[in-house]
Amino acid sequence: MELTITNLTKEFSGTRAVDSVNETLTRGVYGLLGVNGAGKTTLMRMLTTLLHPSSGSITWDGEDIFAMEGRFRSILGYLPQEFGFYPNFTVEEYLQYIASIKGLRPAVAKQRVKELLHQVGLSKARSKKMKNLSGGMKRRAGIAQAMLNDPKLLILDEPTAGLDPNERIRFRNLISELAEDRIVLLSTHIVSDVEYIAGKIFLMKDGRIAVSGTAPELTAAMPERVWVCQVSKARIDAYLKALKVSNVKTTPEGAELRIVSAEQPTDDAVQVVPTLEDVFLCYFGQRGGEADAAV
């Protein structure tokens, strides 16, 4: 069970969305972190054979995945970023349909649908039309369809986007449960999604894997340090503009700032242990600090 990516490049009208990516994935959970537009979705679409690379190759146990055609897709489970569905199908019908196009025999499909509905907590909603599900329920139906064929390679593109914190935690736990004996590649721009469940994390920037490793490795290898300091309210904006501020905590005296910087930002700044969020900020700057990225 080995997915090998070699010099993978994808160009769109002269722009390199994915640029010379080289990685090897074996059993385990992998996180793909990057800001919007970093090339995560393009990379995943090549891994799911939906897009052909401009150059480079992707192999599964040494065999080109595009040459494998249906054989590769039979070991693949995919939850796309924009998870589309058939609005007039019930949850159960939807899963049965996907099971049929995944090549599951009807009897097996019936049993598998039942199991997965239970696993993702949609048993009671099985007869609901897909269009009537909440955002979280739709995502759970999405993960269920991806798991129908018990895939060896599970690719989840922004699976927690748009979910509330409770749903997000529940979803993360579900992915952890499903991660046994397979490769799971989880793409997100939300740091906490991968921090707890991914064995290895890839930080993707401008189409390239900027850095990779486990969460401790990434924090240890961070080229800048993390500081905490107190500043007055009047100076908060100046710090936000001049430095990479990963957190602002308001206090009666002003604010406590968490700053990623090679140099000590203020005389009273105290160095602290970095987190993955700090690493993210270090590599992506303030672009990483989007509204839902700090959870």
Binding site: R45, T48, T49, L50, L51, H52, E69, G70, R73, S74, L76, Y78, L79, P80, E82, F83, G84, F85, Y86, P87, N88, F89, E93, Q96, Y97, I98, S100, I101, K102, G103, Q145, N149
Partner: protein, 410 residues
């Protein structure tokens, strides 16, 4: 897979509305057939409805049989007798209507006489039959060929520009080899059925075309394509299932519509006259067809046409990813020929005879002289069209399969 694909089409609100519209079109067509039949009673007033149908059937049944020279003489004498009545001679329209009512049993033969005894092939004189005498009865069938030959061979006539020598010879041969004398009967059921059939078939083509337009394109519209294409059969069997769904949807809904329409119409108006030649209603037609054969040709041609329209729509939707654009294809195929016909260009007019809209209105086109010299033989358009569009429809299958399965995700 097929079951789910059919549910995708028929389960949507648009699909349900389209199916209801098709049912409404069938019901409307049946009503049009029944309401078209009228009977003029002894007071000269028009009656419609089931009683009118029964009276007309009864009147025309009296004259059913082989329309040979003695029978024609008999009909001409009867016509002369009725034309000489005070009611027919009267200046009062109501009295004329009463006289008209007496002729309803022989009206189909009188209509044919108006063509057979007219002065030219391109002429029709409503009152011509009134001047025909019994000793002219023997000219009835020969006149059909004689007038057509005169038109074809007239060096100053329009036929010179329309046909080459092979085509002219073909038309003459078709006329000369038509089986005569005709067997006549009450044929109102078949005539109404065939006359209104283009409405049902064209509505079916439009509605089924609309329903087909989403089979491929809705995968994109619903953003379901990434999951679809990343599955084991997403680029093979599942695509075939979509094509199969289009085929079965058209097949089942088309035949259900056409058979219900035909059975209800013939059930109400009568099955009689299926063995009569279509020349009773379409005197100039060069096709050798009985009414039942014309019906088979009409509905089979309509089926091939609907399937072609649906498959072409599906191919366009796979190519453009737009159900909206694709659903305009049936409209364009149906109405562009009408626009081109107005250009009054002989070459374009001849080409129009091979357009797919012809398949949807075969009975109406039986009267037209669309003939084509293929080099080794000459054939009428309706001999060519079914085979031509079976081939084109079959050719669309691999085209749409390849188009959809190889389409990259945006």
């Amino acid at each position: 897979m097929l079951r789910f694909e059919l549910k995708k089409i028929l389960g949507s609100a648009g699909g349900k509305i389209a199916a209801l519209l098709l049912a409404a079109a069938v019901a409307l067509s049946c009503w049009m057939c029944v309401s078209d039949v009228c009977w003029v009673n002894d007071q000269g007033d028009e009656e419609i409805g089931f009683a009118a149908i029964s009276k007309l059937r009864s009147a025309q049944k009296q004259w059913a049989g082989v329309l040979d020279t003695p029978r024609l003489e008999e009909i001409i004498r009867e016509n002369q007798r009725l034309c000489a009545t005070p009611e027919a001679q009267s200046k009062d329209y109501n009295q004329n209507d009463i006289a008209y009512g007496w002729k309803q049993g022989i009206r189909p033969v009188l209509n044919m006489m108006n063509y057979a005894y007219s002065r030219g092939f391109q002429e029709y004189d409503w009152y011509c039959n009134e001047s025909v005498t019994p000793n002219q009865a023997g000219d009835f069938y020969p006149n059909r060929t004689k007038l057509m030959k005169a038109w074809l061979l007239d060096e100053t006539g329009s036929a010179q520009y329309l046909f080459n020598e092979n085509e002219k010879n073909y038309l003459i041969e078709q006329y000369e080899t038509l089986e005569t004398p005709f067997y006549i009967d009450y044929t109102q059921g078949w005539e109404e059925l065939l006359y209104n059939s283009p409405f049902v078939i064209m509505m079916a083509a439009l509605i089924l075309g609309y329903m087909s337009s989403g089979i491929f394109a809705n995968e994109y519209r619903w953003r379901a394509d990434p999951v679809f294409f990343s599955t084991r059969h997403g680029r093979d069997k599942a695509v075939w299932a979509k094509i199969g769904a289009g085929f079965w949807m058209v097949t089942v809904l088309y035949w259900a519509s056409v058979l219900i329409y035909s059975l209800v119409t013939l059930g109400l108006l009568g099955f009689d006259g299926g063995q009569c030649p279509v020349q009773i209603a379409l005197w100039k037609s060069f096709y050798h067809l009985k009414f039942w054969q014309a019906w088979v040709l009409t509905v089979v041609g309509g089926y091939i046409g609907c399937l072609f329209f649906a498959f072409l729509t599906m191919w366009v939707s796979a190519k453009t990813r737009s159900a909206v654009f694709a659903s305009t294809v049936p409209f364009l195929l149906m109405f562009v020929p009408n626009f081109l016909d107005n250009l009054n260009n002989d070459t374009i007019s001849r080409l129009l005879g091979l357009f797919p809209d012809m398949l949807l209105q075969i009975y109406q086109k039986l009267r037209y002289f669309y003939v084509y010299d293929l080099g080794f033989c000459v054939k009428g358009a309706l001999d060519i069209l079914p085979a031509l569009y079976i081939v084109l429809t079959a050719a669309l299958v691999p085209l749409m399969y390849c188009q959809f399965r190889k389409r990259p995700i945006k």
